[in-house]
Subunit: 474 residues, 4 copies
């Protein structure tokens, strides 16, 4: 139910000859729109000259036939959708970031938060660098262009920069002649590669973007890997790839962020969610008449819960698809509430039934309470809520926007208290171990050897930053 | 899959005292948005003075905090969402239609097409009437105001007008002091009544709009009934209600148009669709590994098909919710296609499976062919398509926008030919009788005694107009 | 200084063959923009089908390459710019008014207010007519289409209608096959005819619109004349033209409304204004060092004052041309004032000088007081204000928006009092007789034999309406 | 006639306590709008935190009540209007430029072009600096922040930076606690200081902006001077002020750019222009019946020509004030032309007259030819054109956008040839020496000792850049 925010989706394409790639990027970004709705941008490279269109708004707000057409023919392009996790929404922070430096131009798109950006900014500013934005992308740009002055190629500069920037990043960089994709050594954020029917190479945050543009999935970029495309050839630099170490893909990609038709690090997102439901049915069983999911992200787990529990699956809630960005949310003071606008309860499915309802997470608890109320108003005799994620207890430093501790209901209350607060008859959360167990399952063997679960269990795979992004700029 | 268009949704509210009703109407229209996305409007009545805001666009495009606030406090209001079935999209045709006449002001919202509007326009023009728009709403306004000059009250004028206007209409009329809802004697279009917690009265095209504003469903307006609210009292005029005659609710309300959480003339839309799937599984059985629905309108029937056939239900297609009005559709010439942008196939559900896929209708067949291709590309071994409606063979004169015969695939081809054209392994359509059988089912007894199925079987419940709306104005 | 508002500018063009006339109308409307900045519209006629684009805003806001292009080729077109003198700004009142009636379509543009529209509306509503707008244009449309049913041609219908509508109107009507221009028998509002280089016929409120589209001025339309263009032929109906009676052109066309390069009823607007200055120098002489005009409309009279008085003409005030519609006017509470934003005083022209400043009118007096202050702040030793119009004392019923009596400074104060209130050293207004004398001057012989001066002297050339437009609709 | 473009207007204000200064800056920018219509921006400083709103468009497009209000209270603010002289119109280049650096924040606005920006960019990029924009402002920001790291205060950094940046600049810099205005040592661009009634200090490109906000003119900033306002105190650093050397104010400020009510370096712009007309009447006398000016910038010189020649001054051309940014210019292929839209000729002033027409400059000659034609069409018997500037023969490197030599008519043709090309009966240009003579006139003694006239005579007061801005980025 739209409670957490991922910060970005990235896409890049390299073709052998010039064509109208901006439109291809447009379609890819439409498929990645769920990863960020704040700003969108596309940069194209024609004959080593890079041009860019970006603005606040949805992909379909920012782009139209006219500006896509004006971007013209090109042989490389990158695109970005953004949700900002620090500071105010701002045009300055929109990506791609376009940079003019000594060796030419560069367009950078990136997903993830650094943990040492504060230190790096300080260091850079001491050397006389000036910053236009508050984004980590500008820090990364500086580090890369700084390294570029000392070494022979842009990919070498990226590799050197990776020794200095720490944290989560999946980035795509377009130089005058090369398209480079790089993923941080712990693999916090997804990044995959595909092939166009005519041989072009694409990179994307999620595989669903490949399908939408007709590309074939080739493979995930490895944590730490740098892939360079130049003159149609692909080179892989594995020097940052750590053998035998655990990787740290954000588990929320599986739980909530990613589109169910995407496959990330070898795991189908839909399958993970169905298995979450199966696991929940084992760990938190209940007698009931129907299992329903909160659309859209609770449906897969509800289906799994039904499979395991043998309680019939039902379609008990439908989602109003016309609640967009310009929707005027009801005041707190009005009787009507947001959930009632977003969701419709199907009375014939719920009336006089004992209902299991599956949602993907509980953040503040208010939405859950409204859902329970909606179901009871539609006649549900009992409402058993099952949550396909563990309780949030810790902040994320890698790019996921989790509420502050005061607002996280699980930081303030025990599970029985939450159950009472939201008015459910019973409540169960998935455990961290259950989630990790799913990833070990034979069918869904993960290419990377682990996930970051710090927001649940506090086990941060890196040092923790001293100064948060918010503190710095607000 | 968005192939047919209903023309309108209507909403009206009457309260005992002045309050900011425009916002209530706004929320109701958001819940009726699926019935029309071309224009939206709200008219409010304060102290007998009617004011209106309307424009082309979605409800959330047309309205903002500022213009809702400017509409101010009032004790009555009506609202409308529109999809135009004749002529070009035009501001002149947006509703509510606001009229100044001898006895005061009037705001009218209406859903449905008349069959004698051509004759009525001619007759009125001969008397010196002039028309600003091409809509039936203006014709109805003239007839009602004409009758108003001859009789003692606006509700009497509505009743007299109903002897002259023929065809489909569910209308809500706001006069200086009254709110009046009327439904044509054959009940082509839905219309229901609800009650606000504080006693206010509401009318809406669908019951889902009642829930969204916190109103309780009271009952459907009977075919031919006129309900007048004045000084908080409700009066019903049943003089146009035909006892014992069959009613003619558009069957497509159940099949496709209405929201699944609505209840129309005693039947839950969701239930009708689930039973369609059950019926299809009986009439067109097939051996398969998984049943999936084309989201959103094919999901309920897929669920029913699975219930009956015991073939597991699966979530095999997901819909991109960011394909909005400003989305730039791919050119015909581009390799990429619209279905690939709108739908994502979940490979792990489909790979190496025999798949039954349920859609609500086939109009031209191109979309169906793309869906079959999408499923096969995701690894489906067999694709069996089942359609939860009969084949379209005839035009609709009551307000549903069906393609011309040249474009209707079922007018040009047999079912086996269609199956081949779309590339499916088998294809089955629901029969008209199956649909009518569902309505007789004990659980879903329809309050009206029949449905219009003319687009399938050519049995028009009224005369057929000589001159179509399109011919007149184009 | 922008104190009074004219309500409209009209334009029409008839060509022998189809071409992109919408753009010609666009340029004409740009030249008539000073006559109305609230809404703009163009209707085109191609093969008897009329299409229209109109909206609130300036001509250059409403029209763009795209919508002009979509209007396509046509052989007739009309256009309109509007300033509304009654009720709120509203899209419904924008012109051209497009009407569908028994005999076909009609587009009407018009300038002026009727004095019997209240009675006509009542009469029409009694017959069952309904009104969408509050404008006189809709009343005229009804009267004409009503007459059309009784007679053989549209021009005959216009002639018959002119026996029933009373007041001020210059109108252009486009029927499927004809373009008709008509002017009320008293000639309140200007209307002239021109010829395109290729033989096309144009009608316009002012001759400046002819120049801008490359047309040659042919003649003014006579008060009461109806000119019909059909198949390239021009017919004139003089049956409403009153021989020997005085005509009543609004004198404010000469004083303020019209563009100085226009010629109306035989008089060059610029010449009238120069002669006003000459007359003022005779009737209100003063010793001074420099004569300046308040730009733009006071410049011509200042020049005349200088010619007669031999006091040097100076450029002492300049106007900021970037104060547009979206300019945020200073609050009353702010020290800064509107005049200081709009006008810049040239110190070197004013310092230590005795200054005569000419403005076209004084309405409330606040602007004049700010101008006097601005001049003194720039160093003027004495400020003598001369006004090239008489004092406003009466309301206008023919389409000029004059403030209510409470706001008219001349209704509340004597001229010496006003002089003191605005802080001038002396003040002089032109007398009504002086204005009328100018029109009798040999050089500027007016084709019509008089002007309406009712707002100054209360001599209304018609009956006065009982119910004002404002009272009816507010 | 709008042929040349100045690049910018700057404004800054420092108040003792917090108030809504954004609105004051807004009014100042409206008064400076003639200096740049491409983008506008305001940055405010509240408690050392700088916030900014800027965008493409006119001041009144970019700002509205809402965003001005959101900028809130502050004790310092700067603003900018821009016309870009190099590269495409771009949001990145809009000012104020907001910079985050080691010592805090900085907002910079500036007018003028550097001649060594190419070299400085190269040098900075070699050190690892990256550029987001193509503007000189970013170069200046880098140089200043770089110097800031090495010295004790921001004003010292500005002073040090001024040893490195060469060319034309009038800049205002807002640091967390100071407002600093600086003008290049040759004084190419104007910059003056004023005082608010409450003691606040303002800086502006032109004195007209002071008047509009109610400030009193104090003095011009000297070429090379740095003025720092801190804690309400004003300090002046004269270390870059060159005694005895000639200054180089762009002469086009007097001829065309500046508003006639401004006073720059001791000279009233209006006076300069009147004296240009007087000088032209001496150097290029002619027998004629009337002298008219091309509005707006030719009016002052026409007035001067009349004074000297005793030929009567006339108002023969009027300007359409509704030709704004969104005006659709006529195609080259259309008969109608741009001049006919922009200007109206007053026939009664011109008919059968020998006309002297004064314009400020001739660039390509096409506009002049259309003006001559317009006057002849209005009946002028002879047309004698006088130009109140010398012929353009050389490019400007300091920020004025002069066409390339191929387009400059004076580079391709002799004056007699130009006279024939534009169809005039005679043609005369002011000489460079005449212009310089005016500045020596007792009444208009210039505070700076000279003007840059390089575009006329090629005498560049600095070295000339090797690589032009256009070459670098296009």
């Amino acid at each position: 139910m739209d409670k957490l925010h991922e910060e970005c989706g990235v896409f890049g394409i390299y073709e052998g000859s010039n064509s109208k790639l901006a439109k291809t990027v447009y379609y890819a970004l439409i498929s990645l729109q769920h990863r960020g709705q704040e700003s969108a941008g596309i940069a194209v490279n024609r004959d080593r000259v890079i041009r860019c269109v970006k603005d606040l708004g949805l992909v379909s707000d920012v782009f139209n036939e006219e500006n896509l057409d004006k971007l013209g023919e090109c042989n490389m392009a990158v695109g970005h959708v953004r949700y900002s996790t620090s500071g105010a929404v701002s045009k300055e922070n929109a990506q791609p970031m376009l940079i003019k430096h000594l060796k030419g131009q560069m367009a950078l798109v990136h997903n993830g938060n650094l943990i040492n950006s504060y230190e790096l900014r300080n260091e850079l500013e001491k050397k006389g660098c000036i910053f236009h934005s508050t984004s980590d992308t500008e820090v990364i740009s500086y580090i890369i262009t700084g390294e570029r002055l000392k070494c022979g190629s842009i990919e070498e500069a990226v590799s050197n920069a990776m020794y200095r920037i720490k944290g989560a990043y999946s980035l795509i960089l377009m130089s005058p002649a090369k398209l480079i994709a790089a993923r941080d050594p712990l693999g916090f954020k997804p990044l995959c590669m595909g092939k166009m029917p005519d041989g072009g190479i694409v990179f994307a945050s999620e595989s669903c973007a490949l399908s939408s543009v007709g590309a074939e999935f080739v493979r995930d970029i490895l944590p730490g890997e740098i892939v360079t495309v130049e003159n149609g050839e692909i080179r892989s630099d594995l020097s940052h790839v750590k053998k035998d170490s655990k990787s740290s893909l954000c588990i929320f990609e599986y739980i909530y962020f990613a589109r169910p038709d995407s496959k990330i690090d070898g795991v189908f997102v839909h399958d993970f969610r169905v298995k979450s439901g199966i696991s929940l049915a084992k760990s938190h069983p209940v007698e009931a008449d129907v299992v329903i999911g909160v659309p859209d992200s609770g449906l897969d787990a509800a289906y799994g819960f039904s499979l395991q529990s043998k309680i019939p699956y039902g379609i008990g809630l439908i989602k109003n698809k016309y609640i967009g960005r310009s929707f005027i949310a009801p005041d707190q003071t009005e009787r009507r509430n947001m959930v009632r606008m977003k969701l419709g309860a199907i009375e014939s499915v719920l009336k006089d039934k004992r209902v299991v309802v599956i949602d993907d997470s509980i953040v503040r608890g208010t939405t859950s309470a409204q859902i329970v109320k909606l179901l009871r108003d539609a006649g549900a005799k009992e409402v058993h809520m099952r949550i396909s994620s563990p309780t949030f207890l810790n902040p994320c430093y890698y790019g996921t926007d989790i509420d502050s501790r005061e607002n996280l209901i699980a930081c303030q209350h025990t599970i029985p208290e939450i159950c009472e607060l939201i008015g459910a008859d019973s409540l169960g959360f998935m455990e961290v171990d259950e989630a990790l167990e799913i990833l070990k399952d034979g069918d869904t063997k993960c290419s990377c050897s682990g996930c970051c679960t710090a927001c649940f269990d506090g086990k941060y795979p890196t040092e923790v930053p001293q100064v948060s992004a918010k503190e710095r700029f607000e």
